[in-house]
Amino acid sequence: MDVFYKPMPRHLVELVPGMVTLFNVKTSKYTYVNKAIYKVLGYKPHDLIEGGSEFTHSIVHPDDLQFVLEKDSEALRQADRDKIYRTGSDPISSLEFRMRHKKGHYVWMHTDCIVYDRDEEGRLDHVLYIANDISERIESERKLRQRTEDLVDINKSKDEFVAIASHQLRTPATAVKQYLGLLLEGYAEPLLPDQRSFLEKAFESNERQLHIVDDMLRVAQLDLEKMNLRPVRTDIGGLVKDAAAALQGRLKTRRQTLKLSLPKTSAQAKVDPERLQMVIENLLENASNYSASGKEIELKLRHTAKKIEISVCDAGVGINRDDYPKLFQKFSRIANTRTNSVSGTGLGLYFSAKIVELHGGRIKVESAPGKGSTFTIMLPI
């Protein structure tokens, strides 16, 4: 067997910033240590050469020592048994652990162990330990982790705030609704035409306010992962029809027509009917909002043995491709001069996408600016 031996170009090794040590496996002594040890650990090369592995083990952080000893001896044993020639670029172990600086503080080290040479029988003779100070990296990773945790906490308390605030807002808004209702439903004196019309306007605003509160609550619940689906076996055709029926009134006021296309065979799937219907209604509502009055909206259901597709197709203003990613973000409203009048919370699509995702599906968007858009709910069965 070839014996691997190549003298180290020491003048170069002295220049590298990391610690390089040549270690005799049989005697557990260091035969060479470069000057970088001063900078990294505050010791002299002589300290290691004198003290051997006993010395290095004594300055490994006590919490890391067992792990380092286990991993190191396992790697050496394995490399010794292998008797395989390995090049210097292929470490037999790479470990990260803390070592105590001469001044007392700990330094995070990344240490690669590389086979240096073997004896005539191919047994391990020397290995190189190449060690670099990675304290900065570890610290920035720790800071990043901490920062992420902080942000998660802040976000959670914000979600909780939204949930509580919405609840609080709903109660007075509900009371306003009752009293407007009392007036409009004739529980007080008969109303003059102007009084009725003013009250109806107040009623509409109150309804919108309640819608916003509900949307905010739904989203806060989704974000807090408090929303659990309640899946039951559902006739999707019936669900699509229900959603269409719920939107009839709104479409009528905007003089828009709805074309409903259902398959001949019934489509059954396990879904949360209430929430999925909300999603379909939301897509229909958007289609109506972003289409001129008098236009047609198509609601189509298709299915195969494996998937269900519910698409809402409008001939409305359309969406620029650049705006696609913004569509499903919270509170995002795409700027569009023609649709400045559209009211909403900017939460509908965010909510819809989340609900569909919880069903294991996704919402696909196809659109041509000026021609219209198609939103397709794709659900696995």
Binding site: T171, P172, T174, L182, E274
Partner: protein, 122 residues
């Protein structure tokens, strides 16, 4: 005419409900929370209870539990007040004897009257 107990912590709401149900000719008592409801219930013995699920001190579910409504008061009609977002609570309330529910934010006084009258006829 029926004896109706309204259990709702929001004064503006229970006053509105009281007003419309009185107009219908019903006899009304109001409790502001669950504990009060249990006290009133004993001597009032209502035919129907309108019960808010979320209240301070004691919520609606606990009232139903304490009364053991499903077993001990099978004649009592129970309508719970709720919002769309607590479906699980509605399910629990139904298991404990509730017969209908009203989404407060989405019902007008007229809606309430209709639900009450239909429930009483059942």
């Amino acid at each position: 005419m029926a004896k109706i107990l309204i259990v709702e912590d929001e004064k503006a709401l229970n006053e509105a409900y009281k007003l419309v149900l009185k107009r219908e000719g019903h006899d009304i008592r109001v409790a502001m929370n669950g504990q009060e409801a249990l006290k009133v219930f004993e001597d009032y013995k209502p035919d129907l209870m309108l019960l808010d699920l979320r209240m301070p001190k004691m919520g609606g579910l606990e009232v139903l539990e304490q009364l053991d409504a499903a077993k001990k008061h099978p004649q009592l009609k129970i309508i719970v007040f709720t919002n769309y977002d607590n479906q699980e609570e509605i399910d629990k309330a139904f298991k404990q004897g509730a017969t209908s529910y009203i989404l407060k934010a989405w019902s007008s006084p007229g809606d309430l009257v209709r639900v009450v009258n239909t429930t009483l006829k059942k």
